[in-house]
Amino acid sequence: MKFSYYPGCTLKTKAKELDAAGRKAAAALGVELEEIENWQCCGAVYPQATDEIATRLSSVRALSAAEEKGQELLTLCSACHHVIKRVNEDMRTNADIRLRANNYLALEKPYTGATNVIHYLEMLRDRVGFDNVKAAVKNPLKGRKIAAYYGCLLLRPSKVMAMDDPENPSILEDFIKAIGATPVIYSQRNECCGGYIALDDKAAAQKRVDAIISGAVAAGADTIVTACPLCMYNLDANATKHVLPVQYFTSLLAEALGIVE
């Protein structure tokens, strides 16, 4: 099983662990990740405006590179996944954006949205299968109570992201069960942590983080798990009431698969 892999800017710097654990775990599960050559940063936020073309181009380049290889494009960072998946939908359904992006890029073959964008978690669920993940676990995380933090970017808007039920998701909880731990359900798991506003309005971000962490702590969690480097930073740096260890889901997966760092 082979995928075009888009790591993104933060996985090469502050979130190296998300990337390294993800790569090792994929290899252990028989999944080959071919990093896209010369990929560019996706821009981290999806350009909602209909007239923003330049800010969509790096995603289109990555999508086109995956199409050339005839591979699905696999993402790991929640923000990259959100941006690239939505730009892909624009290229597929919005004739004006498609025309202008292609006029600008002048690719050998115009890109029309043919690539399928798949998140690492979806790869585990839909391509490998959580049963097979479970079978590959050598070090089940027994006794661990883990709160799944979806945040905003993986699930919404659900018509485009189509990962899971946007209001009652289960993919992360099913993942937690597959690695032998117990998922903890709490109220704010699919509400935003205010990550990107943390730079401009730290107090607002702290309020969001405290609401999320308090909920997870009250439900008995010993760890909160995320796929997003910005959530990771924010849930860790801007918690003022409770401290709860924050981990990347790939770190837990690598631990459960018995991959020694």
Binding site: E191, C192, G194, A204
Partner: protein, 128 residues
């Protein structure tokens, strides 16, 4: 500084039709950053419909949206309020000298763990 932004600009940039709104208030009810806003998501919809762009453009509320798409997901009429907030903010920062944050502001805001993603987001959201 915002007096030259017209309603048509906002409708064109956002692609939103505020007349689809039935004023149920669900967008503001579900907004996780409601408390920080002077004008709330449902007010962006009604004020754009009424052409009150100047008030929105002059308000700090345009920098308070978290872009979490809770309002977009939960709107029963598919109005997509977040796109209106984004459009007003863009119409403001696309003007000469109206950047809300500049690269020179970043070093003072850095800490050891801050991910690149946060800086990239800020430069996409706050300046042109």
């Amino acid at each position: 500084m915002s007096g030259n932004i017209c309603t048509e600009d906002i409708l064109r940039i956002s692609g939103v039709n505020p007349r689809k709104c039935m004023q149920c208030g669900k967008c503001s009810g579900t907004c996780p950053n409601f408390d920080e806003m002077e004008y709330h998501p449902h007010q962006f919809v009604s004020m754009v419909r009424k052409g009150q762009i100047d008030k929105l453009a002059a308000s700090k509320s345009i920098y308070k949206c978290l872009s979490c798409f809770a309002c977009v997901e939960r709107c029963p009429r598919n109005v997509e309020p977040a796109k209106l907030i984004e459009a007003v903010r863009l119409a403001v920062i696309r003007q000469q000298g109206m950047d809300y944050m500049r690269p020179d502001d970043i070093p003072a805001l850095l800490d050891d763990k801050l991910p690149q993603q946060a800086i990239v987001s800020a430069m996409r959201k706050y300046r042109k």
